[in-house]
């Protein structure tokens, strides 16, 4: 077992443990930070799976964008005084049954991947992905850009009538 394999197992365990910690955490802010750890270890797993471009996109968009938006939302929707950040749990039994049974179902029927899959892409990974986007998938790319524009305008319109409270 060489160093890279140990790193691979380490990031798998780190992603799993921090995802489990979100379930058991009562604090919204701590949960967001645990999610950050989980997302960054998944990005590390992308690097080890020869998907460097996706790792960069994951770090930039998920860790840099979505997490910042979520923390911004936490700041805006919690009261300053009292016990602001604590979340209660409901439906613990049904949620636990649903999650655990789905996990058993998914892992039971997983096809067995051969362990020694070859490395995905060549060193020119980003160049290959860029060429593929603009030569083989131009229409989905444009549609994705349109979707982003619609989401941006929609989010701005939804929040534009907020009365600013002192």
């Amino acid at each position: 077992m060489n160093g890279v394999t140990i790193l691979f197992y380490f990031f798998i365990i780190l992603a799993g443990v921090s995802a489990g910690a979100i379930v058991f955490s009562k604090n919204v802010f701590k949960s967001a930070l645990f999610l950050l750890v989980s997302l960054l270890s998944v990005a590390a797993l992308y690097v080890l799976s020869f998907a460097e471009f996706l790792a960069v996109a994951q770090i930039l968009i998920y860790a840099g964008g979505i997490l910042v938006i979520i923390i911004f939302g936490i700041m805006l929707t919690t009261k300053i005084s009292g016990r602001p950040l604590v979340v209660e749990n409901t439906h613990i039994l049904s949620g636990g049954i649903a999650g655990i049974s789905l996990f058993i179902l998914l892992t039971r029927f997983l096809p067995s991947l051969p362990s020694g899959a070859t490395s995905g892409l060549q060193p020119e990974d980003i160049r290959v992905i860029g060429l593929a986007i603009f030569s083989r998938y131009p229409v989905p790319f444009e549609v994705a850009g349109l979707l982003l524009l619609i989401a941006l305008v929609g989010a701005a319109v939804v929040t534009s009538h907020l009365k600013s409270k002192a």
């Binding site: 979100i22 379930v23 992308y46 939302g73 999650g99 997983l110 593929a132």
Partner: protein
């Protein structure tokens, strides 16, 4: 060779953790957090199974589009949460039951 066959198990675990968070937590932002975790699990699966076909990169491209949709969902979802919080002074989904018959 790296043990890529463990990645689908990690993805299944992340997805189920996200599902439990969505069902159990009584806060709209925690629900959004769980949805992000589930989308991330699906991305991990796509990357892991793309390893089987090194010449193709459909999986990688699809992950890119999933990330784009996740960004849009997070932005619009947070906007709705802020609006609802402004109106009801609460971010607990169960308390917003005005349309309940």
């Amino acid at each position: 060779m790296l043990p890529f066959h463990y990645l689908p198990y990690l993805a299944a675990f992340l997805f189920c953790a996200g599902l439990i968070i969505v069902i159990v937590k009584r806060n709209a932002i925690m629900v959004l957090l769980g949805i992000e975790l589930m989308l991330n699990a699906s991305n991990l699966n796509l990357v892991a199974f793309n390893q089987q076909y090194p010449a193709e990169l459909h999986g990688h491209i699809f992950v890119l589009f999933v990330i784009i949709v996740a960004v849009s969902e997070a932005a619009v979802g947070l906007a709705i949460v802020l609006r609802v919080y402004q109106y009801y002074q609460s971010s607990v989904p169960d308390e917003i039951a005005e349309l309940k018959g």
